[in-house]
Protein backbone atom coordinates (compact mmCIF):
# COMPACT_ATOMS: atom_id res chain seq x y z
CA UNK A 1 0.00 0.00 0.00
CA UNK A 2 1.31 3.45 -0.91
CA UNK A 3 1.02 6.24 1.65
CA UNK A 4 1.57 9.91 0.82
CA UNK A 5 1.79 13.13 2.77
CA UNK A 6 0.09 16.20 1.34
CA UNK A 7 -0.27 19.80 2.43
CA UNK A 8 -3.67 21.50 2.14
CA UNK A 9 -2.56 23.08 -1.16
CA UNK A 10 -1.28 19.78 -2.52
CA UNK A 11 -4.53 18.10 -1.57
CA UNK A 12 -6.58 20.84 -3.25
CA UNK A 13 -4.39 20.67 -6.36
CA UNK A 14 -4.71 16.91 -6.57
CA UNK A 15 -8.51 16.98 -6.32
CA UNK A 16 -8.83 19.92 -8.68
CA UNK A 17 -6.50 18.13 -11.07
CA UNK A 18 -8.86 15.16 -11.17
CA UNK A 19 -11.76 17.49 -11.86
CA UNK A 20 -10.13 18.71 -15.12
CA UNK A 21 -11.33 15.69 -17.05
CA UNK A 22 -13.62 13.84 -14.64
CA UNK A 23 -16.69 14.40 -12.52
CA UNK A 24 -15.55 15.03 -8.98
CA UNK A 25 -18.04 15.68 -6.20
CA UNK A 26 -17.63 16.86 -2.64
CA UNK A 27 -19.99 17.72 0.23
CA UNK A 28 -21.34 21.20 -0.51
CA UNK A 29 -19.43 23.95 1.22
CA UNK A 30 -21.76 26.56 2.66
CA UNK A 31 -24.92 27.24 0.73
CA UNK A 32 -25.27 24.99 -2.25
CA UNK A 33 -24.89 26.33 -5.77
CA UNK A 34 -27.29 24.34 -7.87
CA UNK A 35 -25.35 24.85 -11.07
CA UNK A 36 -24.94 21.17 -11.89
CA UNK A 37 -28.15 19.36 -12.69
CA UNK A 38 -26.46 15.98 -12.17
CA UNK A 39 -25.62 16.76 -8.59
CA UNK A 40 -27.81 15.80 -5.67
CA UNK A 41 -28.69 18.19 -2.83
CA UNK A 42 -25.93 18.47 -0.28
CA UNK A 43 -23.18 17.81 -2.81
CA UNK A 44 -21.40 19.94 -5.39
CA UNK A 45 -18.99 19.55 -8.26
CA UNK A 46 -15.45 20.38 -7.22
CA UNK A 47 -14.55 23.87 -8.41
CA UNK A 48 -11.14 25.47 -8.66
CA UNK A 49 -11.71 28.00 -5.92
CA UNK A 50 -12.93 26.12 -2.84
CA UNK A 51 -10.32 24.53 -0.57
CA UNK A 52 -11.22 21.08 0.70
CA UNK A 53 -11.99 21.46 4.35
CA UNK A 54 -14.77 19.52 5.94
CA UNK A 55 -16.74 20.07 9.10
CA UNK A 56 -16.67 17.10 11.50
CA UNK A 57 -19.22 14.33 10.97
CA UNK A 58 -20.92 13.00 7.86
CA UNK A 59 -22.10 15.17 4.98
CA UNK A 60 -25.67 16.47 5.17
CA UNK A 61 -26.94 13.97 2.60
CA UNK A 62 -25.47 10.53 2.14
CA UNK A 63 -23.41 9.05 -0.64
CA UNK A 64 -26.26 6.75 -1.72
CA UNK A 65 -27.38 9.45 -4.11
CA UNK A 66 -24.43 8.57 -6.38
CA UNK A 67 -24.97 4.82 -6.44
CA UNK A 68 -28.73 4.77 -6.19
CA UNK A 69 -29.67 8.13 -7.70
CA UNK A 70 -33.21 9.40 -7.80
CA UNK A 71 -34.84 9.44 -10.16
CA UNK A 72 -33.12 6.68 -12.08
CA UNK A 73 -34.46 5.92 -15.54
CA UNK A 74 -35.09 2.20 -15.91
CA UNK A 75 -36.69 2.28 -19.35
CA UNK A 76 -37.79 4.73 -22.00
CA UNK A 77 -40.54 4.44 -24.60
CA UNK A 78 -42.71 6.35 -27.02
CA UNK A 79 -46.49 6.45 -27.00
CA UNK A 80 -46.76 8.09 -30.46
CA UNK A 81 -49.18 6.06 -32.59
CA UNK A 82 -47.19 6.80 -35.76
CA UNK A 83 -44.12 5.08 -34.30
CA UNK A 84 -43.89 1.31 -34.91
CA UNK A 85 -42.01 1.08 -31.60
CA UNK A 86 -45.00 2.47 -29.70
CA UNK A 87 -45.09 0.96 -26.20
CA UNK A 88 -41.77 -0.84 -26.62
CA UNK A 89 -39.67 -0.53 -23.49
CA UNK A 90 -36.01 0.24 -24.12
CA UNK A 91 -33.12 0.37 -21.70
CA UNK A 92 -31.36 3.72 -21.63
CA UNK A 93 -27.65 3.97 -22.35
CA UNK A 94 -25.91 3.31 -19.06
CA UNK A 95 -23.53 5.98 -17.82
CA UNK A 96 -20.00 4.61 -17.69
CA UNK A 97 -17.87 7.69 -17.03
CA UNK A 98 -16.08 7.68 -13.72
CA UNK A 99 -17.36 9.73 -10.82
CA UNK A 100 -15.04 10.54 -7.96
CA UNK A 101 -16.59 11.22 -4.59
CA UNK A 102 -14.29 13.13 -2.29
CA UNK A 103 -14.95 13.73 1.39
CA UNK A 104 -17.28 10.94 2.35
CA UNK A 105 -16.79 9.57 5.84
CA UNK A 106 -16.02 5.95 6.82
CA UNK A 107 -19.66 5.38 7.79
CA UNK A 108 -20.89 6.26 4.30
CA UNK A 109 -18.21 4.09 2.72
CA UNK A 110 -19.52 1.14 4.72
CA UNK A 111 -23.08 1.92 3.66
CA UNK A 112 -22.14 1.32 0.04
CA UNK A 113 -21.01 -2.19 0.92
CA UNK A 114 -24.12 -2.89 3.00
CA UNK A 115 -26.45 -1.72 0.24
CA UNK A 116 -24.56 -3.89 -2.16
CA UNK A 117 -26.05 -6.94 -0.42
CA UNK A 118 -29.63 -6.38 -1.63
CA UNK A 119 -28.37 -4.75 -4.85
CA UNK A 120 -25.93 -7.56 -5.67
CA UNK A 121 -27.93 -8.47 -8.79
CA UNK A 122 -29.25 -5.00 -9.58
CA UNK A 123 -27.90 -3.86 -12.97
CA UNK A 124 -28.18 -0.12 -12.25
CA UNK A 125 -26.49 -0.22 -8.84
CA UNK A 126 -23.68 -2.40 -10.16
CA UNK A 127 -22.94 -0.09 -13.08
CA UNK A 128 -22.79 2.88 -10.73
CA UNK A 129 -20.63 1.01 -8.25
CA UNK A 130 -18.15 0.13 -10.99
CA UNK A 131 -17.79 3.76 -12.06
CA UNK A 132 -17.55 5.34 -8.63
CA UNK A 133 -14.24 6.07 -6.94
CA UNK A 134 -14.40 6.86 -3.25
CA UNK A 135 -11.89 9.15 -1.65
CA UNK A 136 -12.86 9.29 2.01
CA UNK A 137 -11.85 11.39 4.97
CA UNK A 138 -11.39 9.58 8.26
CA UNK A 139 -12.67 11.28 11.40
CA UNK A 140 -10.39 12.80 14.03
CA UNK A 141 -13.35 13.18 16.35
CA UNK A 142 -16.78 11.66 16.69
CA UNK A 143 -19.85 13.91 16.82
CA UNK A 144 -22.35 13.56 19.64
CA UNK A 145 -24.66 11.79 17.18
CA UNK A 146 -22.05 9.37 15.78
CA UNK A 147 -22.06 5.70 16.79
CA UNK A 148 -20.26 3.99 13.90
CA UNK A 149 -18.18 1.95 16.34
CA UNK A 150 -21.30 0.28 17.75
CA UNK A 151 -22.37 -0.73 14.25
CA UNK A 152 -19.15 -2.44 13.23
CA UNK A 153 -17.33 0.54 11.73
CA UNK A 154 -14.89 3.02 13.22
CA UNK A 155 -13.99 6.71 12.81
CA UNK A 156 -10.61 5.75 11.35
CA UNK A 157 -12.07 2.94 9.20
CA UNK A 158 -11.11 2.51 5.54
CA UNK A 159 -13.51 -0.26 4.49
CA UNK A 160 -15.00 0.44 1.06
CA UNK A 161 -12.66 3.34 0.25
CA UNK A 162 -10.22 3.64 -2.65
CA UNK A 163 -8.20 6.32 -0.92
CA UNK A 164 -8.43 7.23 2.78
CA UNK A 165 -7.27 10.67 3.81
CA UNK A 166 -6.49 11.46 7.44
CA UNK A 167 -5.54 14.76 8.94
CA UNK A 168 -2.40 14.44 11.06
CA UNK A 169 -0.72 17.49 12.60
CA UNK A 170 -1.73 20.05 10.00
CA UNK A 171 -1.05 17.89 6.96
CA UNK A 172 -2.87 15.05 5.26
CA UNK A 173 -1.88 11.41 5.03
CA UNK A 174 -3.37 9.62 2.03
CA UNK A 175 -3.54 5.83 2.15
CA UNK A 176 -4.02 4.36 -1.32
CA UNK A 177 -6.09 1.22 -0.88
CA UNK A 178 -7.09 -0.07 -4.30
CA UNK A 179 -5.77 -0.25 -7.88
CA UNK A 180 -8.22 2.50 -8.84
CA UNK A 181 -6.81 4.65 -6.08
CA UNK A 182 -3.32 3.95 -7.38
CA UNK A 183 -4.30 5.00 -10.88
CA UNK A 184 -5.53 8.33 -9.57
CA UNK A 185 -2.46 9.04 -7.47
CA UNK A 186 -0.05 7.90 -10.17
CA UNK A 187 -1.01 10.94 -12.26
CA UNK A 188 0.58 13.39 -9.87
CA UNK A 189 3.95 13.65 -8.18
CA UNK A 190 3.33 13.08 -4.46
CA UNK A 191 5.61 12.94 -1.44
CA UNK A 192 5.69 9.53 0.23
CA UNK A 193 4.90 9.72 3.92
CA UNK A 194 7.76 9.28 6.38
CA UNK A 195 7.81 6.16 8.54
CA UNK A 196 7.24 8.34 11.59
CA UNK A 197 4.07 9.73 9.99
CA UNK A 198 2.83 6.27 9.08
CA UNK A 199 3.47 5.17 12.64
CA UNK A 200 1.67 8.19 14.03
CA UNK A 201 -1.35 7.31 11.87
CA UNK A 202 -1.27 3.70 13.04
CA UNK A 203 -1.09 4.89 16.62
CA UNK A 204 -4.09 7.19 16.07
CA UNK A 205 -6.04 4.34 14.55
CA UNK A 206 -5.19 2.06 17.44
CA UNK A 207 -6.38 4.60 19.98
CA UNK A 208 -9.58 5.49 18.13
CA UNK A 209 -12.87 3.75 19.00
CA UNK A 210 -12.79 0.27 17.51
CA UNK A 211 -15.58 -1.61 15.84
CA UNK A 212 -17.51 -3.24 18.63
CA UNK A 213 -20.66 -5.08 17.74
CA UNK A 214 -20.55 -7.71 20.41
CA UNK A 215 -23.19 -5.90 22.43
CA UNK A 216 -25.67 -5.44 19.59
CA UNK A 217 -24.97 -8.83 18.02
CA UNK A 218 -27.03 -10.31 20.84
CA UNK A 219 -30.11 -9.07 18.96
CA UNK A 220 -29.44 -11.48 16.12
CA UNK A 221 -30.06 -14.41 18.44
CA UNK A 222 -33.27 -12.99 19.92
CA UNK A 223 -36.68 -14.31 18.86
CA UNK A 224 -38.08 -12.17 16.07
CA UNK A 225 -41.70 -12.33 17.17
CA UNK A 226 -40.82 -11.39 20.74
CA UNK A 227 -39.05 -8.26 19.51
CA UNK A 228 -41.91 -7.56 17.11
CA UNK A 229 -44.47 -7.69 19.90
CA UNK A 230 -42.43 -5.60 22.36
CA UNK A 231 -44.30 -2.79 24.12
CA UNK A 232 -41.72 -0.18 23.11
CA UNK A 233 -43.17 0.14 19.58
CA UNK A 234 -46.41 1.55 20.92
CA UNK A 235 -44.61 4.40 22.68
CA UNK A 236 -42.27 5.01 19.78
CA UNK A 237 -45.08 4.89 17.24
CA UNK A 238 -47.00 7.49 19.15
CA UNK A 239 -44.27 10.10 18.88
CA UNK A 240 -43.13 9.33 15.31
CA UNK A 241 -45.00 11.48 12.80
CA UNK A 242 -44.08 9.25 9.84
CA UNK A 243 -42.45 12.17 8.03
CA UNK A 244 -39.84 9.90 6.50
CA UNK A 245 -36.94 12.32 7.05
CA UNK A 246 -34.91 9.52 8.62
CA UNK A 247 -35.43 7.17 5.69
CA UNK A 248 -34.44 9.71 3.05
CA UNK A 249 -31.32 10.82 4.86
CA UNK A 250 -30.35 7.31 5.86
CA UNK A 251 -27.45 5.94 3.79
CA UNK A 252 -28.70 2.37 4.18
CA UNK A 253 -32.42 2.86 3.52
CA UNK A 254 -32.67 1.60 -0.03
CA UNK A 255 -36.30 0.81 -0.87
CA UNK A 256 -37.73 2.30 -4.03
CA UNK A 257 -40.94 2.97 -5.90
CA UNK A 258 -41.40 2.70 -9.66
CA UNK A 259 -43.56 5.09 -11.67
CA UNK A 260 -44.24 5.95 -15.30
CA UNK A 261 -43.84 9.50 -16.49
CA UNK A 262 -44.99 10.73 -19.91
CA UNK A 263 -44.26 14.10 -21.44
CA UNK A 264 -45.60 14.85 -24.93
CA UNK A 265 -45.76 11.21 -25.97
CA UNK A 266 -42.28 10.32 -24.70
CA UNK A 267 -42.29 8.19 -21.59
CA UNK A 268 -39.88 6.82 -19.08
CA UNK A 269 -40.19 4.34 -16.24
CA UNK A 270 -38.28 5.64 -13.25
CA UNK A 271 -37.45 4.46 -9.80
CA UNK A 272 -36.91 6.74 -6.85
CA UNK A 273 -36.52 6.54 -3.10
CA UNK A 274 -39.59 5.47 -1.20
CA UNK A 275 -40.22 5.21 2.52
CA UNK A 276 -41.89 2.47 4.57
CA UNK A 277 -43.09 5.31 6.83
CA UNK A 278 -45.79 6.15 4.26
CA UNK A 279 -49.17 4.36 4.28
CA UNK A 280 -49.20 4.10 0.44
CA UNK A 281 -46.08 1.99 0.60
CA UNK A 282 -47.94 -1.16 1.58
CA UNK A 283 -51.54 -0.28 0.67
CA UNK A 284 -53.31 -3.01 -1.31
CA UNK A 285 -55.61 -2.00 -4.13
CA UNK A 286 -58.47 -3.59 -2.19
CA UNK A 287 -58.03 -0.95 0.51
CA UNK A 288 -56.50 -3.42 2.94
CA UNK A 289 -53.23 -2.20 4.44
CA UNK A 290 -50.95 -4.69 6.23
CA UNK A 291 -49.21 -1.75 7.94
CA UNK A 292 -52.16 0.60 8.18
CA UNK A 293 -51.22 1.94 11.61
CA UNK A 294 -48.52 4.53 12.17
CA UNK A 295 -46.92 2.39 14.86
CA UNK A 296 -46.59 -0.56 12.49
CA UNK A 297 -44.67 1.55 10.01
CA UNK A 298 -42.28 2.97 12.62
CA UNK A 299 -41.68 -0.55 13.85
CA UNK A 300 -41.01 -1.78 10.34
CA UNK A 301 -38.21 0.72 9.82
CA UNK A 302 -36.32 -0.23 12.96
CA UNK A 303 -37.05 -3.94 12.71
CA UNK A 304 -35.82 -3.89 9.12
CA UNK A 305 -32.51 -2.36 10.13
CA UNK A 306 -31.94 -4.36 13.28
CA UNK A 307 -33.62 -7.70 12.70
CA UNK A 308 -35.02 -8.37 9.21
CA UNK A 309 -31.96 -7.25 7.24
CA UNK A 310 -29.51 -9.10 9.53
CA UNK A 311 -31.67 -12.19 9.20
CA UNK A 312 -31.35 -12.06 5.38
CA UNK A 313 -27.85 -10.71 4.96
CA UNK A 314 -26.06 -11.26 8.26
CA UNK A 315 -25.30 -7.60 9.01
CA UNK A 316 -27.20 -4.69 10.56
CA UNK A 317 -28.52 -2.20 8.04
CA UNK A 318 -27.13 0.80 9.89
CA UNK A 319 -23.69 2.39 9.87
CA UNK A 320 -24.13 4.71 12.85
CA UNK A 321 -23.81 7.99 10.93
CA UNK A 322 -26.41 9.58 13.21
CA UNK A 323 -28.20 11.52 10.46
CA UNK A 324 -31.59 10.20 11.60
CA UNK A 325 -30.78 11.26 15.14
CA UNK A 326 -29.97 14.77 13.93
CA UNK A 327 -32.86 15.13 11.53
CA UNK A 328 -35.80 13.59 13.37
CA UNK A 329 -38.25 16.38 14.26
CA UNK A 330 -39.49 14.50 17.32
CA UNK A 331 -36.06 13.44 18.57
CA UNK A 332 -36.31 9.72 18.09
CA UNK A 333 -32.86 8.23 18.66
CA UNK A 334 -32.07 4.84 17.16
CA UNK A 335 -29.46 4.27 19.89
CA UNK A 336 -32.23 4.39 22.49
CA UNK A 337 -34.34 2.08 20.35
CA UNK A 338 -31.43 -0.36 20.26
CA UNK A 339 -30.92 -0.37 24.00
CA UNK A 340 -34.68 -0.70 24.58
CA UNK A 341 -34.72 -3.65 22.21
CA UNK A 342 -31.79 -5.26 23.99
CA UNK A 343 -33.77 -4.99 27.22
CA UNK A 344 -36.76 -6.87 25.78
CA UNK A 345 -37.08 -10.26 27.43
Amino acid sequence: MKVFRLSQTELDNMVQGWSQNRRVYRPAAGRQQSTHADCAPGWERVAASTPLTLPPGPSKTSVKTFLFPQPETMQTYTLKSSDPDKGLMKEPQKATEKQIIVGLRPCDARSVKLNNLPFQEDPFYQVNLARTVMVGFTCSAMCATCFCDQMGGSPMGTEGLDIAISQVDGSFIAEVLTPVGEELTAEIRLTPAEDSEINALAERRKNSPQADFAKLDVLKGRDLNTLYKAALWQTLGESCINCGACTFNCPTCYCFDVQDEVVRGQGRRIRYWDSCMFPLYSLHTTGHNPRGQKMQRTRNRFMHKLKYFPERYGLFSCVGCGRCVKDCPVNIDIREVMSDLLAVE
Binding site: G87, L88, K90, L224, F256, V258, S282, L283, T285, R312
Partner: protein
Amino acid sequence: MISYLPYPVRIDEIKVETEDGNLKTFKLVFENETQRKAWKHVPGQFAMLSLAGQGEIPIGIASSPTEEGHLLFTVNRAGKVTTALHQMHMGERMGVRGPLGNGFPIDTDMKGKNIVIIAGGFAVTTLRATLIYLMEHRQDYGKITFIYGARTPGMLLYQNELQEWAKRDDVDLHITVDREAPGWDGLVGFVPTIAGQVAPSPENSVALICGPPIMIKFTMPPLEKIGWTDDQVYLSLENRMKCGEGVCCHCNVGPTLVCKDGPVFTRTQVRKLPVEY
Protein backbone atom coordinates in the same frame (compact mmCIF):
# COMPACT_ATOMS: atom_id res chain seq x y z
CA MET B 1 -28.01 -10.06 -13.07
CA ILE B 2 -31.66 -9.01 -12.80
CA SER B 3 -33.30 -7.60 -15.92
CA TYR B 4 -36.09 -5.11 -15.28
CA LEU B 5 -36.85 -4.89 -19.00
CA PRO B 6 -40.26 -6.38 -19.87
CA TYR B 7 -40.56 -8.64 -22.92
CA PRO B 8 -42.76 -7.13 -25.63
CA VAL B 9 -45.97 -9.12 -26.14
CA ARG B 10 -49.17 -8.64 -28.17
CA ILE B 11 -52.69 -9.18 -26.93
CA ASP B 12 -53.95 -12.11 -28.99
CA GLU B 13 -57.34 -12.55 -27.37
CA ILE B 14 -59.46 -10.94 -24.66
CA LYS B 15 -62.19 -12.90 -22.93
CA VAL B 16 -64.71 -11.36 -20.56
CA GLU B 17 -64.99 -13.95 -17.80
CA THR B 18 -67.69 -12.75 -15.43
CA GLU B 19 -71.21 -11.36 -15.63
CA ASP B 20 -70.14 -8.06 -14.09
CA GLY B 21 -67.47 -7.63 -16.78
CA ASN B 22 -64.81 -6.93 -14.14
CA LEU B 23 -62.68 -9.95 -14.91
CA LYS B 24 -61.03 -10.46 -18.25
CA THR B 25 -58.55 -13.07 -19.41
CA PHE B 26 -55.78 -11.79 -21.66
CA LYS B 27 -54.00 -14.16 -23.98
CA LEU B 28 -50.54 -12.78 -24.69
CA VAL B 29 -48.09 -13.86 -27.37
CA PHE B 30 -44.42 -12.98 -27.46
CA GLU B 31 -43.18 -10.68 -30.22
CA ASN B 32 -39.77 -12.25 -30.02
CA GLU B 33 -39.39 -15.96 -30.78
CA THR B 34 -36.21 -16.39 -28.70
CA GLN B 35 -37.92 -14.89 -25.67
CA ARG B 36 -40.94 -17.15 -26.17
CA LYS B 37 -38.69 -20.20 -26.18
CA ALA B 38 -36.69 -19.04 -23.17
CA TRP B 39 -39.81 -18.49 -21.04
CA LYS B 40 -40.24 -21.29 -18.47
CA HIS B 41 -42.56 -21.08 -15.50
CA VAL B 42 -44.15 -23.35 -12.92
CA PRO B 43 -47.78 -23.06 -11.76
CA GLY B 44 -48.11 -20.58 -8.90
CA GLN B 45 -45.57 -18.12 -10.24
CA PHE B 46 -46.51 -14.61 -11.29
CA ALA B 47 -45.30 -12.01 -13.75
CA MET B 48 -45.23 -8.24 -13.95
CA LEU B 49 -47.63 -6.98 -16.60
CA SER B 50 -46.28 -3.75 -18.03
CA LEU B 51 -48.31 -1.00 -19.67
CA ALA B 52 -46.20 1.79 -21.08
CA GLY B 53 -47.32 5.05 -19.52
CA GLN B 54 -49.31 3.32 -16.79
CA GLY B 55 -47.01 1.07 -14.78
CA GLU B 56 -46.38 -2.51 -13.85
CA ILE B 57 -48.51 -4.88 -11.76
CA PRO B 58 -47.96 -8.37 -10.38
CA ILE B 59 -50.45 -10.90 -11.80
CA GLY B 60 -50.50 -14.67 -11.29
CA ILE B 61 -49.86 -16.72 -14.42
CA ALA B 62 -53.16 -18.40 -15.27
CA SER B 63 -51.83 -20.63 -18.02
CA SER B 64 -50.04 -23.90 -17.44
CA PRO B 65 -46.49 -24.35 -18.75
CA THR B 66 -47.97 -27.16 -20.83
CA GLU B 67 -50.02 -24.64 -22.83
CA GLU B 68 -47.17 -23.60 -25.03
CA GLY B 69 -46.82 -20.53 -27.22
CA HIS B 70 -48.81 -18.06 -25.15
CA LEU B 71 -49.51 -16.83 -21.63
CA LEU B 72 -52.86 -16.25 -19.94
CA PHE B 73 -53.59 -13.71 -17.23
CA THR B 74 -56.99 -13.13 -15.65
CA VAL B 75 -57.22 -9.62 -14.33
CA ASN B 76 -59.72 -7.98 -12.01
CA ARG B 77 -60.38 -4.32 -12.82
CA ALA B 78 -59.35 -2.57 -9.62
CA GLY B 79 -57.22 0.57 -9.95
CA LYS B 80 -55.02 2.51 -12.33
CA VAL B 81 -53.14 -0.14 -14.29
CA THR B 82 -55.82 -2.83 -14.28
CA THR B 83 -58.40 -0.32 -15.55
CA ALA B 84 -56.08 0.75 -18.36
CA LEU B 85 -55.48 -2.90 -19.21
CA HIS B 86 -59.22 -3.54 -19.41
CA GLN B 87 -59.41 -0.79 -22.02
CA MET B 88 -56.78 -2.35 -24.28
CA HIS B 89 -57.66 -4.03 -27.58
CA MET B 90 -56.60 -7.14 -29.41
CA GLY B 91 -53.36 -6.74 -31.32
CA GLU B 92 -52.02 -4.03 -29.04
CA ARG B 93 -48.56 -4.22 -27.52
CA MET B 94 -47.77 -4.49 -23.84
CA GLY B 95 -45.01 -6.08 -21.76
CA VAL B 96 -44.40 -9.06 -19.49
CA ARG B 97 -41.57 -9.42 -17.00
CA GLY B 98 -40.91 -12.72 -15.29
CA PRO B 99 -41.63 -15.42 -14.42
CA LEU B 100 -41.24 -14.37 -10.79
CA GLY B 101 -41.61 -16.03 -7.39
CA ASN B 102 -41.36 -19.64 -6.38
CA GLY B 103 -44.60 -21.37 -7.52
CA PHE B 104 -46.21 -24.54 -6.14
CA PRO B 105 -43.94 -27.50 -5.33
CA ILE B 106 -45.14 -29.57 -8.30
CA ASP B 107 -41.87 -31.47 -8.62
CA THR B 108 -41.11 -31.89 -4.94
CA ASP B 109 -43.66 -31.99 -2.13
CA MET B 110 -46.64 -32.56 -4.44
CA LYS B 111 -45.14 -35.42 -6.43
CA GLY B 112 -46.91 -38.74 -5.86
CA LYS B 113 -49.43 -37.27 -3.43
CA ASN B 114 -53.16 -36.67 -3.41
CA ILE B 115 -53.80 -33.04 -4.24
CA VAL B 116 -56.67 -30.96 -2.86
CA ILE B 117 -57.13 -27.59 -4.54
CA ILE B 118 -59.41 -25.11 -2.81
CA ALA B 119 -60.18 -21.81 -4.54
CA GLY B 120 -62.46 -18.90 -3.79
CA GLY B 121 -63.31 -16.06 -6.14
CA PHE B 122 -60.80 -14.94 -8.76
CA ALA B 123 -57.84 -16.29 -6.77
CA VAL B 124 -58.48 -19.44 -8.81
CA THR B 125 -56.15 -18.20 -11.61
CA THR B 126 -52.87 -19.90 -10.72
CA LEU B 127 -54.83 -22.93 -9.53
CA ARG B 128 -56.26 -23.26 -13.05
CA ALA B 129 -52.64 -23.38 -14.25
CA THR B 130 -51.89 -25.99 -11.60
CA LEU B 131 -54.87 -28.22 -12.37
CA ILE B 132 -54.10 -28.26 -16.09
CA TYR B 133 -50.49 -29.09 -15.34
CA LEU B 134 -51.50 -31.93 -13.01
CA MET B 135 -53.90 -33.35 -15.60
CA GLU B 136 -51.13 -33.30 -18.21
CA HIS B 137 -48.89 -35.22 -15.81
CA ARG B 138 -51.70 -37.30 -14.33
CA GLN B 139 -49.62 -40.39 -13.53
CA ASP B 140 -47.27 -38.37 -11.27
CA TYR B 141 -49.99 -37.52 -8.75
CA GLY B 142 -52.59 -39.35 -6.67
CA LYS B 143 -56.24 -38.40 -6.32
CA ILE B 144 -57.05 -34.83 -7.39
CA THR B 145 -59.85 -32.90 -5.69
CA PHE B 146 -60.77 -29.43 -6.99
CA ILE B 147 -63.08 -27.27 -4.90
CA TYR B 148 -63.99 -23.87 -6.30
CA GLY B 149 -66.60 -21.36 -5.27
CA ALA B 150 -67.84 -17.97 -6.39
CA ARG B 151 -70.62 -15.65 -5.27
CA THR B 152 -72.91 -16.44 -8.20
CA PRO B 153 -72.78 -18.79 -11.20
CA GLY B 154 -72.00 -15.77 -13.39
CA MET B 155 -68.93 -14.97 -11.32
CA LEU B 156 -67.27 -18.33 -11.96
CA LEU B 157 -64.17 -18.07 -14.14
CA TYR B 158 -63.26 -20.48 -16.94
CA GLN B 159 -66.84 -21.77 -17.27
CA ASN B 160 -66.30 -23.79 -20.46
CA GLU B 161 -63.32 -25.49 -18.95
CA LEU B 162 -65.18 -26.27 -15.73
CA GLN B 163 -67.72 -28.18 -17.84
CA GLU B 164 -64.93 -30.10 -19.59
CA TRP B 165 -63.22 -30.97 -16.32
CA ALA B 166 -66.52 -32.13 -14.81
CA LYS B 167 -66.67 -34.84 -17.49
CA ARG B 168 -63.34 -36.32 -16.49
CA ASP B 169 -63.28 -39.22 -14.09
CA ASP B 170 -59.74 -38.62 -12.89
CA VAL B 171 -60.54 -35.29 -11.21
CA ASP B 172 -63.00 -34.88 -8.36
CA LEU B 173 -64.63 -31.53 -9.10
CA HIS B 174 -66.83 -29.55 -6.66
CA ILE B 175 -68.10 -26.21 -7.92
CA THR B 176 -70.22 -24.17 -5.56
CA VAL B 177 -71.95 -20.79 -5.40
CA ASP B 178 -72.81 -18.83 -2.27
CA ARG B 179 -76.58 -18.74 -2.75
CA GLU B 180 -79.30 -20.49 -4.78
CA ALA B 181 -79.55 -19.00 -8.26
CA PRO B 182 -81.96 -19.52 -11.15
CA GLY B 183 -80.68 -22.19 -13.51
CA TRP B 184 -78.00 -23.40 -11.13
CA ASP B 185 -78.28 -27.06 -10.21
CA GLY B 186 -74.83 -27.48 -8.72
CA LEU B 187 -73.60 -27.15 -5.13
CA VAL B 188 -74.73 -24.25 -2.97
CA GLY B 189 -72.74 -23.06 0.05
CA PHE B 190 -69.54 -21.33 1.03
CA VAL B 191 -66.21 -22.90 0.14
CA PRO B 192 -65.24 -23.77 3.75
CA THR B 193 -68.50 -25.69 4.24
CA ILE B 194 -68.10 -27.61 1.00
CA ALA B 195 -64.43 -28.27 1.77
CA GLY B 196 -65.44 -29.70 5.15
CA GLN B 197 -67.89 -32.04 3.42
CA VAL B 198 -65.78 -33.30 0.56
CA ALA B 199 -62.14 -32.98 1.63
CA PRO B 200 -60.39 -36.33 1.68
CA SER B 201 -58.26 -37.59 4.52
CA PRO B 202 -54.91 -35.88 4.93
CA GLU B 203 -52.95 -39.07 4.39
CA ASN B 204 -50.21 -38.59 1.78
CA SER B 205 -51.94 -35.38 0.70
CA VAL B 206 -51.21 -31.74 0.05
CA ALA B 207 -53.71 -28.87 -0.11
CA LEU B 208 -53.35 -25.68 -2.13
CA ILE B 209 -55.66 -22.93 -0.90
CA CYS B 210 -56.13 -19.56 -2.62
CA GLY B 211 -58.88 -17.11 -1.89
CA PRO B 212 -59.89 -14.14 0.21
CA PRO B 213 -58.32 -14.20 3.73
CA ILE B 214 -61.72 -14.79 5.33
CA MET B 215 -62.25 -17.91 3.23
CA ILE B 216 -58.83 -19.28 4.15
CA LYS B 217 -59.50 -18.59 7.82
CA PHE B 218 -62.75 -20.57 7.82
CA THR B 219 -61.47 -23.37 5.60
CA MET B 220 -58.76 -24.40 8.03
CA PRO B 221 -60.86 -25.61 11.03
CA PRO B 222 -62.82 -28.27 9.07
CA LEU B 223 -59.55 -29.51 7.55
CA GLU B 224 -57.80 -29.56 10.92
CA LYS B 225 -60.73 -31.50 12.36
CA ILE B 226 -60.01 -34.40 10.04
CA GLY B 227 -56.30 -34.30 10.78
CA TRP B 228 -54.73 -31.91 8.29
CA THR B 229 -51.59 -30.17 9.56
CA ASP B 230 -50.13 -26.77 8.67
CA ASP B 231 -47.17 -28.07 6.72
CA GLN B 232 -49.48 -29.91 4.29
CA VAL B 233 -51.24 -26.69 3.37
CA TYR B 234 -49.89 -24.25 0.79
CA LEU B 235 -51.14 -20.67 0.57
CA SER B 236 -50.29 -17.86 -1.81
CA LEU B 237 -49.75 -14.38 -0.35
CA GLU B 238 -50.39 -11.09 -2.11
CA ASN B 239 -48.64 -7.92 -1.03
CA ARG B 240 -48.07 -4.71 -2.88
CA MET B 241 -44.86 -5.06 -4.83
CA LYS B 242 -42.80 -3.05 -7.25
CA CYS B 243 -39.66 -4.82 -8.48
CA GLY B 244 -40.76 -8.43 -8.03
CA GLU B 245 -37.10 -9.36 -7.63
CA GLY B 246 -36.55 -8.99 -3.88
CA VAL B 247 -34.90 -5.57 -4.03
CA CYS B 248 -37.46 -2.77 -3.57
CA CYS B 249 -38.70 -4.06 -0.15
CA HIS B 250 -42.38 -3.18 -0.68
CA CYS B 251 -43.79 -6.67 -0.14
CA ASN B 252 -41.92 -7.53 3.06
CA VAL B 253 -43.68 -9.53 5.76
CA GLY B 254 -41.12 -9.29 8.50
CA PRO B 255 -37.86 -10.54 7.01
CA THR B 256 -39.70 -12.45 4.28
CA LEU B 257 -40.14 -11.04 0.80
CA VAL B 258 -43.38 -12.25 -0.79
CA CYS B 259 -42.05 -11.74 -4.33
CA LYS B 260 -38.89 -13.73 -3.85
CA ASP B 261 -39.46 -16.20 -1.01
CA GLY B 262 -43.09 -16.66 -2.09
CA PRO B 263 -45.75 -15.97 -3.11
CA VAL B 264 -46.34 -19.63 -2.16
CA PHE B 265 -45.76 -20.57 1.48
CA THR B 266 -46.80 -23.45 3.69
CA ARG B 267 -49.19 -22.50 6.45
CA THR B 268 -46.43 -23.40 8.92
CA GLN B 269 -44.21 -20.74 7.34
CA VAL B 270 -46.97 -18.14 7.30
CA ARG B 271 -47.81 -18.66 10.97
CA LYS B 272 -44.25 -17.84 11.98
CA LEU B 273 -44.46 -14.44 10.31
CA PRO B 274 -45.76 -11.17 11.70
CA VAL B 275 -49.32 -10.64 10.40
CA GLU B 276 -48.38 -8.09 7.74
CA TYR B 277 -50.07 -9.47 4.62
